[in-house]
Symmetry: C2
Subunit: 211 residues, 2 copies
DNA sequence: GTCTATACGACGATAGAC
DNA sequence: GTCTATCGTCGTATAGAC
């Protein structure tokens, strides 16, 4: 990589910002496959094509770096789902909203697979002192889904014989697991998103009037 | 492998065997919440109420201990699902079989939560050299589900517009995630199992003739 | 069987050259 | 900004007492 540092006169990210980005991506990949404690700075550095010591120019320490990966992972799905919901017409039905949220959540997982996967499994593995911050963020996201589900149940748009909390966890669990699928199974992404929506909404049994 | 296998007589488990069991359980718990590399022998020892050095009397080394936890985790669901399927009447329908497998899988997760949870997330985190053995075991389990799903699709018992591989991953993902639920969300276990079956089969939208 | 004490290696972090 | 060199810490594993 002998690219000359280009003076960021006009606009666009500085070289430093680009490097930071490269490091975060590399970190997310290693974290996703090795877990929190299994991730060595030397591995991150190698994947980002630099030496371990150089990381300290961009981040305070290991924890600071993990912090950035984690925050981004939790935020990504959140932002995307909120945006997608807001883009819906005001009079959209509950089922339509749910479809939209499912599609957006899966979409974010497919696009930011490593970051999402890393943040999802890391939440458990973090040293207890570090957990509260991210748990809170995750709960705010969970709350969005919870409202969606409860509102839909109250209006009779979806079945109300399932506990809303468990229902949310079932749905998100099914979708989150996609981050861990073997690449070969993912296949066509649009197809996958459609299937996810279909499965959550209608299940595997073909509908029959006299269920 | 680990400790010496006692020539099995008619007596109960030796004291050594009991201790081994205690250690494996402790290890599963720590592995489930800290990940592979995050699990220190001292933590396992503490939870098993002994000192770290003493573990080496029962297991060759760290890897040997993890090995036992992992093997058990993959086996548990497998055994339970196979047994449940065999107990069905020969003429059981495809949907009935699927229900049974779902119920058994969830049941095993609820009962061996730590071991299952540990083995599920550890598969990814293992050093590459150690993975093949467990992957193979997991694939054998996946094959059972695959056959179930394909057979059901071919007979028109379940919808065939979803890719069978992805369908399997969706279903198992939804169920596996239960291992990571907060204890407070699990609630009544029988209720949870029923809900899991209902959700996979019929989804969240109440059935209507003109879907 | 379990303990304490210790060697040994691996990784995080810092300092200073370029 | 990135490198090399180095220090300190911590965890695995071993040795030997009880």
């Amino acid at each position: 990589m002998g690219a000359k540092a280009r003076p960021s006169s006009a606009q666009g990210p500085s070289k430093s910002a680009i490097t930071r980005e490269r490091i975060i991506t590399a970190a997310a990949q290693v974290l996703a496959e090795r877990g929190y404690a299994g991730t060595k700075l030397s591995d991150i550095a190698e994947r980002a094509e630099m030496k371990a010591g150089s990381l300290y120019y961009h981040f305070e320490d290991r924890e600071d770096l993990v912090d950035h990966v984690l925050k981004r992972g939790v935020d990504e799905s959140f932002r995307r789902v909120k945006t997608a919901l807001k883009a819906l017409p005001k009079d959209a039905g509950h089922v339509r909203k749910l479809e939209t949220a499912i599609d957006a959540h899966v979409h974010s997982i497919l696009q930011f697979g490593d970051v999402t996967s890393a943040s999802l499994q890391l939440l458990r593995q973090l040293p207890p002192e570090l957990q509260p911050r991210y748990r809170r963020e995750q709960q705010r996201y969970g709350a969005v889904w919870h409202k969606l589900i409860v509102a839909a149940q109250n209006d009779g748009a979806i079945r109300d014989d399932l506990d809303p909390v468990r229902l949310r966890l079932f749905i998100l669990g099914q979708l989150n697991w996609v981050a861990d699928w073997p690449r070969t199974a993912v296949g066509d992404r649009d197809e996958l998103r459609k299937e996810a929506v279909a499965l959550v909404l209608h299940g595997v049994v073909p509908s029959r009037e006299g269920r």
